[in-house]
Symmetry: C2
């Protein structure tokens, strides 16, 4: 097999599969769109409904403001898309908002963005799954009757999938996303055709209901506040837009251009769907309320606690396609599926961002290396745990969860756009070429407007939603920020402590001699191997050490030592309490005390077994001893493993683990090529 | 400080404190009695009641059989005590029933005894605490109303105490045990005085109730069966008698004689209390039923589900002292306390037996070394978990739990006594001295009678209780037996696999050269130290190895390497997927492939920190790499620790852990003096 004969080559280029994988991984636009856009596109499943919900506070008459709010959302969407097209060109490395903010506004701004994004990932999971369950529930009543249970079950399922490392594939995203987009477009077109060409009167299931306005005849400041709140809720449609700017490396070349085009396509699709659904909702007289049990009336009577308010998209589909019809069911299923995919997005983005933060030492270092299953697992479990907590606390109610959602998004939008303005300022200061300058000035204008607009929306969101739940999101951000600051401080403190002294390394006090000690319990293959290896190391002195836990066994050991004529002196430590660790530690300390400039090398034969329960039966004393020896200065601890037959099982498992796919591999693109330091011997 | 200057001496004799501790640990008889007898003495708190309960099945008229049953229990108690006095003399090492059965009947019999004892320890906890709660409940109704909760709380408390290693002290046992014994004797004497001298009519709280016999007018075989069942229940009074035979080493000299005397005292106290309570119960007309809600009638009406049946000892105390009187409350409290101490006995005995079983490789080896906190903790948690499960399943009902209890005790009694008969046979085969021979023949007769009687009781218990719950205990024994057999098989298989080949050790293929590799991530004190130590080891070749995870960092490392003029070649491994483990493993494998007879020494600098959460931030890659390297043949793995300032905290904790007292230390006595192999250099 070439795999086995070609080891040096494999070391140089990693795995034989690497280059194949590389081609497989790069995304054409038609696949990149669903991979990155399932999150923003899926939000049109709930954003229009949220607008109507808020407006209903002022009664059904306020619904006529909804086109204006839709318009504001459209303008905002175009602004954000245009802004991020600049980001994509300026930062093709995929660092996204965190990189932009850190580079241009400093580490604190960057960390703020990172905290906001981490909170957002949690909420993406919670909101998308809650909404997915509600959409599924419009077709399958059981699901909505056991909302929390079903939502938690979906979270658990997604978590297990991601923990197991199910390979992400572009197609997995493409099919449901395109079915969803296609379904919504058919819905809009068929609705328009029926309404305009056939002149049908389409009526939503709730068309006959009346809305009891909580505040009748709102006007002036109160009305404006309500409209702003409705607008804030509509902004939920913008969540996830920034995802593409994190994924530039995954695109085919020209990466930035393709990413920018995909961004534009995504924006266009999103606003069309958003506006279409709002329009159909108005035409079919969808009636929604924040508190439907009390505020929706049928023949003057409140509908009561048993009433389940279906999502706007499903009500519109019921009106256009007919409730329970084939297309209605297909659209409901596709909507739910695309929302679950959107949730899955967070499972991929969370460890990706974690890896970048780890590189900057805000999170444990091991998150930085790819394919670290343990680290990814911890991140995934943390994400799932937080999302599940929110789901349970908020009863899997998407409307209540959305109140928390938008703050984080707009924090990162705003800081990123401010950062981009700085970015262009910096470049303009040195750029001489007039053509480049004018392009930069144009980009700066776009980003400046983007910063202004998103900043304004952030203020609006904060003001209108703080008491509705945005404070929870802010609290989450503060916790992430504080934790990451603490981790960074720890790393900095350690780095200072271990910094090498100036000058050549000979400055270090180098021990003059090394005294090796091989721990022996019995004479068998592992200990004989350890003795053989220890002799190879040619330390200054070498002795075998045993602890007299059982006098009879010790006596037998001495005798066999003699019989075999082993040419290493055997030292026996007494242990009146049948302990192993303490006598060895004290002996090592005494050696160090005798000659403080010497080092002591403790050599421990170890069994290697294949199952954790076998491991419990071996090496426990060795493990404890090793743990304690590490705290003893001037010591090195050597394990000499002896592979028992059963260890083959573990090797097989390790090989399987190697083939594990880290979540988010598709959207992350291939690893960067090393820019320096070609491999090979110096 | 002499502590620091006297290191070699401390190594020889362990700790400076050792000899002091030794004196402190040996028990005089007056302390040994409560330490070992709290379990058997406390069982008189429930055993008499159990006899009455069973008899009540045949109606109150059957109560007149109870003196005969008490007599049978007394005879059995004397038989068992007499038998164990032989054990104590013949096996002064404290191995107990397990040792006796293994030595004389073979390992299978020994393992059966061990399984029975392990099950018994679990049941001692469950039964004693359930009964303690019931006794406490007779004074404090709240406790008995929340029986399961309180029982579980006591188990948790005992578990935490034992996990923390609260130092066992003889006095802790002495006071409640003597208060309890004293209280019961005052009860009996005062009752006798009131009844005989004053002619008072003492009436238990239940004296007016009638018992509805489940089987009226039982006769013939059915009656005999019921009497045997009542006798079986009464045998609960014998549980724990064997404890002294495990604890001979803890006695002052002459150990065996003192232990035998203590055993006799214990037997005498137990039977006196048992008979006294039965007698008082008959005089005061205590009425108890297995199912009191339905079978106890007051004025012809069943008492109903709300009725709580108080233990016999508390009913008698209420009759003699008056309900709620000072002595009544003191006796209830002392009874509960002594029962909780009896439960604590199991927490001490379980790890002690575990340590002996570990020596014979039926349990993980590390249980054998004393003071191994982790191993003890696992044992304690296992014990507590099993006891808690039983408590919850059986609703903390001592009567239902006792059905499970007695099987294990009599399995070990019987096998131990049969073993003793074999023991004497073996000795008689070689003994010539007529005086010794006649003593041995006498002992053999006692043990033979003991074996016969306890074996008979075992059969009776099995027949009368199997369906009542004894099958659960048997199932538990089977599980323990199977697990221990599997562990032993594993150890035997491994021992065979690793057995050293015959002849001198040079038979082993010894690697010819050693190639050392120091893993480097950055240049700092830990890596410089590792390099210095690695140079000391004088391996055949030495190189530094780094994985190119981040090209910029790698470049900086190479430059600093040059600047510092480090005279070890630096090799850079490429890692396209930013992994650390795989490139290193493959490189090591390639080295081995180039020269298969050489060994590879991988040297890993490691940070040592003081808190687990700090540990999460460091060494994770090193840990994973070490784990994988152990599976690679021909490799030795050396950790060179660098102690960060925060590691001081861990050192302090380690020192505290050293002062931890293993549960059961008092009853175990001081560690044996080594019989051979005095310490010191060869």
């Amino acid at each position: 097999m070439s795999k086995l004969t070609d080891v040096p080559k494999r070391i140089l280029i990693g795995r034989a599969l690497r280059s194949d994988r590389l081609g497989e991984t790069l995304l054409p636009k038609r696949i990149a769109l669903p991979v990155f856009a399932s999150d923003p596109l899926s939000s049109v499943a709930y954003a229009p409904g949220e607008v109507l919900l808020v407006l209903s506070v002022a009664g059904v008459s306020a619904y006529h403001f909804s086109p204006w709010i839709a318009l504001a959302v459209v303008v905002l969407m175009f602004t954000v898309v245009a802004s991020y097209r600049q980001n994509v060109h300026a930062y093709p490395s995929g660092g996204g908002d965190y990189e932009v903010a850190t580079t241009n506004l400093g580490p604190k701004a960057g960390l703020t963005v990172a905290s906001a994004l981490l909170v957002d990932y949690v909420l993406t999971v919670a909101v998308s799954i809650a909404s997915g369950i509600e959409n599924l529930g419009s077709a399958i009543p059981f699901v909505v009757q056991h909302k929390v249970l079903c939502a938690v079950a979906v979270i658990v399922l997604l978590t297990l999938m991601n923990l197991r490392g199910v390979k992400e594939s572009g197609k997995l995203f493409a099919i449901p996303t395109y079915v969803f987009v296609g379904g919504v477009f058919i819905l809009i077109l068929w609705g328009a055709f029926r309404g305009l060409a056939l002149g049908d009167t389409m009526r939503a299931p709730t068309a006959d209901y009346q809305i009891k306005a909580e505040h009748q005849g709102l006007a002036g400041f109160a009305l404006i506040f309500l409209l702003l709140r409705a607008f804030s809720s509509g902004c939920a449609a913008l969540t996830g837009v920034e995802a593409i700017s994190n994924g530039v490396p995954a695109f085919r070349k020209p990466k930035s251009k393709n990413a920018a085009t995909t961004l534009a396509m995504m924006g266009l699709l999103a606003v069309t769907m958003f506006c279409g659904i709002i329009a159909l909702a108005l035409v079919t007289k969808v009636r929604m309320a924040e508190n439907p049990a009390a505020d929706l009336l049928h023949n003057g009577q409140p509908l009561g606690a048993g009433y389940v308010q279906d999502p706007v998209i499903s009500q519109v589909a019921a009106a256009v396609f007919g409730e329970g019809s084939f297309l209605f069911v297909v659209l409901a299923a596709a909507t739910a599926l695309v929302l679950f995919l959107a949730a899955n997005t967070a499972y991929n983005g969370f460890p990706l961002l974690g890896s970048i933060l780890a590189q900057d030492r805000y999170l444990p270092r091991q998150l930085h290396t790819r394919g670290d299953r343990l680290a990814f697992s911890n991140g995934i479990v943390l994400l799932a745990g937080a999302a599940m907590l929110l789901t349970v606390v908020y009863g899997a109610d998407s409307t209540r969860l959305i109140q928390l959602y938008i703050v984080g998004v707009f924090v990162s939008f705003t800081l990123s756009q401010i950062g981009m303005v700085r970015h262009w300022n910096r470049h303009l200061a040195v750029e001489k070429d007039p053509a480049s300058r004018s392009r930069m000035i144009r980009s700066r204008a776009i980003n400046a407007f983007g910063a202004f607009f998103t900043g304004l929306v952030l203020v609006v969101v904060l003001v209108t939603k703080f008491t509705h739940g945005a404070w929870v999101a802010l609290l989450g951000m503060v916790i992430f920020y504080a934790t990451m600051t603490a981790i960074r401080k720890h790393y900095d403190r350690v780095a200072e402590e271990i910094a090498a002294p100036e000058g050549p390394s000979d400055d270090m006090v180098r021990p003059s001699r090394v005294h090796s000690v091989v721990l022996i319990s019995k004479i068998h293959r592992p200990t004989l191997r350890a003795l053989a290896y220890a002799k190879l190391m040619r330390s200054d002195t070498l002795e075998a050490l045993t602890v007299n836990v059982d006098p009879a066994e010790t006596k037998a050991l001495r005798e066999e030592w003699e019989v075999r004529g082993i040419d290493v002196p055997l030292k026996v430590l007494d242990s009146p309490y049948r302990e192993v660790t303490r006598p060895v530690i004290e002996y090592v300390k005494s050696l160090r005390k005798e000659s403080p400039r010497d080092a002591v090398s403790v050599i421990i034969p170890e069994y290697v077994v294949g199952h954790w329960y076998e491991h419990l039966l071996h090496n426990q004393s060795a493990l404890r001893l090793k743990g304690r020896l590490l705290f003893t200065p001037g010591v090195m601890v050597t394990s000499i493993p002896y592979q028992l037959a059963s260890s083959e099982a573990a090797k097989l498992r390790a090989r399987k683990r190697q083939e594990w796919n880290a979540p988010g591999a598709v959207r992350r693109g291939p690893a960067e090529r090393p820019k320096a330091a070609p491999a090979g011997k110096d």
